[in-house]
């Protein structure tokens, strides 16, 4: 019997994008269901009753929630090709650490960069640049965070690229100027088909933010 895979998603969610990339890396066929986050479907509420959030991966009727948990699940089930996590336990621990860092530090600061003003925004920008500088340090001279191959940490961070134009415009800065190594790494990642086809256009994301703010 063929696997039934459904992804409950939202086009501009950097968390949803992570799952899209992971599925693409593994060459998995799935049904993509776009959610209206202002009017959440019964399916979403049933499959993720605790958080009521996307992404949710539904594999043969069983839901998996939380983007990084989903990516690890995908890696463990479809383990015959394109490993996303390293096989060495120490390297795996480091990969999990840095993906978790992206969630803990990058997400929060980046959200504040475009939602706050004045002093709060300046503080957010400081945290934002600090976290990216730390990541640049971790990347070092490696082509990817995963080393020679694109992996878990790369997936966790690259999805924020689609929001860079939002951060740059609201925060009045240039990522290329502030974090050149990150932009180099971004360009390398964008050459991968799994990434290029999973990330929405930056300008479209920005327009949707303006629309959302206009509505508020």
């Amino acid at each position: 019997m063929a696997d039934e895979i459904v992804l409950l998603d939202f086009w501009s969610s950097m968390f949803g994008m992570r799952v899209r990339i992971a599925l693409a890396e593994k060459g998995i066929k799935y049904q993509h269901k776009e959610e209206d986050l202002r009017n959440k479907s019964e399916l979403l509420l049933k499959m993720n009753p605790v958080h009521k959030k996307i992404p949710v991966l539904i594999h043969n009727g069983k839901p998996v929630c939380e983007s990084l948990i989903i990516v690890q699940y995908i890696d463990e089930v479809w383990n015959d090709k394109s490993p996303l996590l390293p096989s060495d336990p120490c390297q795996r621990a480091h990969a999990r650490f840095w993906a978790d860092f992206v969630d803990k530090k990058v997400y929060d600061a980046s959200r504040r960069v475009w939602t706050r003003k004045g002093e709060e925004q300046e503080a957010a920008k400081k945290d934002f640049f600090e976290s990216f500088k730390t990541l640049e340090g971790e990347l070092g001279k490696k082509p990817y965070f995963g080393g020679e191959t694109f992996g878990f940490v790369d997936i966790s961070l690259i999805t924020f690229y689609s929001w860079f134009y939002v951060y740059e415009t609201f925060g009045k800065f240039s990522m290329e100027a502030e974090c050149p190594k990150i932009i180099e790494w971004v360009k390398r990642c964008l050459q991968k088909e799994s990434v290029a086809k999973s990330l929405p256009d930056q300008k479209k994301v920005y327009e949707s933010v303006l629309e959302w703010l206009g509505r508020e």
């Binding site: 605790v50 594999h59 998996v64 939380e66 948990i69 699940y73 336990p89 120490c90 795996r92 621990a93």
Partner: protein, 231 residues
Amino acid sequence: MAKSEVKLLGAWPSPFVMRARIALNIKAVEYEFVLETLEPKSPLLLQSNPVYKKIPVLIHADKPICESLIIVQYIDEVWTSAPSILPSDPYDRAIQRFWAAYVDDKLFPTMRGLLTTQGEEARKAVLDQLAEGLALLEEAFGKCSKGKAFFGGDRIGLLDIAFGCMLGWLRATEKISGLKLLHEANTPGLLKWADTFCADAAVKGVMPETEKLVEFSKVIVARMRGAHPPK
């Protein structure tokens, strides 16, 4: 493996440090427990966890591993000849990871909130949130344990460790607030599981006494509220 090859930087009141200790106990790994005073933070801590400067840190053959749940998974993946901490099925692993993250992201901050929040209405809101969270975990226990003693089935697993290490503070919070958070009426499964978990050989020696945590909490709460500690 020589004892000095495995070091754990930690402190006795921390539920996060306890997670690593239980995992090492399950795997019967000999390790050196390095007491971190935290004020000031030791050079070893700052060097081995420069990003967060927090405990626990596991140092294995001079390589540091940080973040308690990441440490537990690392221990499980390195010492493979001993009983497994994570289930073998990927879906069950995802469920355990989901609820472990829930404990860290939602339950623990709410529990801490109960100690620091002032004002009757605000406290009631926190209490309601906590009750909701515990109800969800009671349901999860039913599904995960499948009638057995632990979230992990017959043996202690990742979620038992993640949530179980909060029991010391949960019981201390009950004593301080005068409220019953786990009880026969709402959380019978968790109530029984809590006793089984705390009595387990891997847990007994490292679970701090409730009274000691109650005393210790007076110091932290005062610090968090910016007031002087009560006599």
